[in-house]
């Protein structure tokens, strides 16, 4: 049986019926990794021996009793390398943490372990999650499994490529401005950024704390709901954690979508988006309309300011968060220094990559007393206006649908700096507003996947999951598997 192309729920059923063991599953994925990791480059660290050891323990448990078995029990997972794992190296894709071994688990990791999930490795990412292509990793460039010449998106590009290439059945990523949805869309899988506060950030190395959220990257919508179920919940260790009760998100899958009100913001379908992508998304909207959804165009007039708002606030928060990397308590340290000041400056200068330096510097600039009002405060006021935009639309609508990305996956090396920043133009708003948003495949153009983004109200995960599931059941895009080869070079 070919286990590697199965979803979590399919693997779960096999385990429950005692048709396969966890060890067999883990070994299948490990041999897939052995075969393809050199081509795809999804992982920074692999934990093969520990994974097999864990699988054996869980198999023993399964042998005894399956009545309390979690949906994730015995199934491997990849964890983005900015989520701390006790005893497993966590680098954030940065040289400054290249040997950092966390002394504790992030809350999400604790929860996965309580569900008997098996960590198989830590996935590649743009350094400190700053980037949209995973080219900014200090260790390797991850490739897009649909075309190895193309980027997988980022910053959770390792997680997205690993799921897409069936190196793991699912992975965790993190999103500050689109770092789950954009790579999921580029790699043809499902990715969810939950409502801010739904998933604990404790143990997620901070980039921009008022935006960051951890979320699942999976092969289908049912898996997304299953993973969400096991990582949510109030955590007193995260001061922004919100108690939203104990919801079973798989119940969303049964929900009827007839009569659900869908808004299409005209600003998300304008000329910054590839026409072919728009067409695919509108085709998908037609499918939903046939299923009984009510569709209407709306306007979110402040959308065009979302990207600028984000690129002020996120680097500002980052410049403050990354001040902790000083070479004193953890992380790499330069060998020769004559003062504490020199130690800090030399360590940071040597160990941070250019994009991280740029964001720290521009953030420092925005926060400096002479620019604070003009940039930082102004962007926070814009954040209020953007939130109001969404609140107004959500008074009359249940969900918003748009493309996830303005372009198809681009060539490795093609985009730099500000042109790269525009990758996030359709995703940043959900992080600015704090609302949940999911992406799922809605077609292919030239053999590359296209993502549809569904945004919901605060704690509206049930709405977006139910619509995503209804669409998925009425399309067959989830069933396509990449061949993992190089496409035709389109010339950069």
């Amino acid at each position: 049986m070919d286990l590697i192309n199965l979803t979590i729920h399919e693997l779960r059923d096999l385990i429950r019926n005692r048709e396969v063991s966890s060890e067999e599953i883990v070994r299948s994925f490990l041999s897939r990794i052995e075969k393809l990791e050199d081509k795809v480059g999804s992982f920074i660290t692999l934990t093969k021996e520990k994974a097999i050891e864990d699988a054996r323990k869980i198999d023993k448990k399964i042998k005894e009793d399956i009545s309390n078995l979690s949906d994730l029990a015995g199934i491997p997972v990849g964890i983005k390398d900015n989520i701390v794992t006790e005893g497993i190296k966590t680098t954030c894709g940065s040289r400054i943490l290249k040997n950092f071994i966390p002394p504790y688990d992030a809350t999400v990791v604790k929860r996965l372990k309580l569900s008997d999930a098996i960590i198989i490795g830590k996935t590649n990412m743009d350094e400190f999650a700053m980037g949209s292509s995973t080219e900014n990793s200090a260790f390797k460039i991850t490739k897009n499994p649909w075309d190895l010449n193309k980027v997988p998106g980022g910053s959770s590009g390792g997680s997205a490529a690993a799921v897409s290439a069936s190196l793991v059945p699912y992975a965790l990523g993190s999103s500050t401005g689109g770092s789950i949805r954009q790579p999921a869309a580029f790699c043809g899988i499902v990715g969810l950024k939950p409502t801010y506060g739904l998933v604990s950030r404790y143990g997620l190395v901070a980039f921009a704390s008022s935006f960051d959220q951890i979320g699942p990257l999976t092969k289908d919508v049912e898996d997304c709901a299953i993973v969400l179920n096991s990582i949510i919940g109030f955590d007193k260790k995260d001061s922004t954690s919100v108690d939203n009760g104990n919801i079973d998100y798989t119940k969303a899958l049964m929900k009827d979508i007839r009569g659900i009100k869908v808004a299409l913001p005209k600003e998300y379908f304008d000329d910054k988006v590839d026409n072919r992508i728009k067409e695919k998304v509108l085709d998908a909207v037609k499918v939903l309309e046939k299923l009984g959804a009510k569709i209407d165009y709306v306007s979110l007039p402040f959308s065009e300011y979302a990207l600028a708002t984000y690129y002020i606030l996120a680097p500002s928060e980052a410049s403050s968060n990354l001040a902790r990397f000083d070479g004193v308590r953890y992380g790499e340290r330069v060998e020769n220094y004559n003062s504490v000041e020199e130690l800090i400056v030399k360590t940071r200068t040597k160990m941070f990559g250019d994009e991280v330096k740029r964001r720290i510097m521009i953030g420092t600039y925005f926060l400096s007393s002479s620019h604070y009002s003009k940039y930082y405060k102004k962007a926070q006021q814009m954040r209020t206006l953007i939130i109001r935009d969404f609140e107004r639309v959500f008074r009359d609508f249940d969900i918003i649908i748009s493309p996830t990305t303005p372009t198809l996956p681009y060539e490795i090396g093609e985009k730099k700096l500000v042109s790269m920043y525009f990758s996030d133009v359709l995703t940043v708003s959900a992080n600015i507003v704090g609302i949940p948003a999911i992406t799922l495949p809605c077609g292919y153009i030239d053999g590359l996947p296209v993502g549809m983004q569904i945004l919901g109200k605060i704690f509206g995960e049930i709405d977006i999951l139910s619509v995503a599931y209804a669409y998925e059941k009425n399309s067959d895009f989830q069933k396509r598997i990449p061949e993992i080869k190089e496409g035709i070079k389109s010339g950069v």
């Binding site: 504490v340 814009m382 939130i387």
Partner: protein
């Protein structure tokens, strides 16, 4: 607006970074490009709009001041380059 090379050096200093003389121009141009992107906000009058610091506008969570176990000293020091008697060591 353009950032000057002098400003770049000043920001780098504040951020505890050193910019190589050969890279000053590169960073100046790159940061100027970012500034040009974000200056789009000048088109909007935000006078009197309440800034959003946190989407829930939540107050701080307070708790009783009760001592509870936290990360053990040994673990807290486990990633330090050098330690002695429970302290971090710098060689100056």
């Amino acid at each position: 607006m353009k950032i000057s090379q002098k400003e770049i050096k000043h920001i780098a200093k504040l951020a505890k970074l050193e910019i190589d003389e050969n890279d000053v121009e590169k960073f100046t141009n790159q940061l100027t490009a970012i500034l040009e992107l974000v200056e789009k906000l000048n088109e909007v009058d935000t006078e009197g709009i309440e800034p959003t610091y946190n989407i829930y506008h939540s107050k701080n969570f307070f708790r009783e001041d009760i001592i509870k176990p936290s990360l053990e000293r040994e673990k807290a020091l486990s990633n330090a380059e050098e330690t002695t008697e429970g302290h971090f060591v710098l060689k100056i």
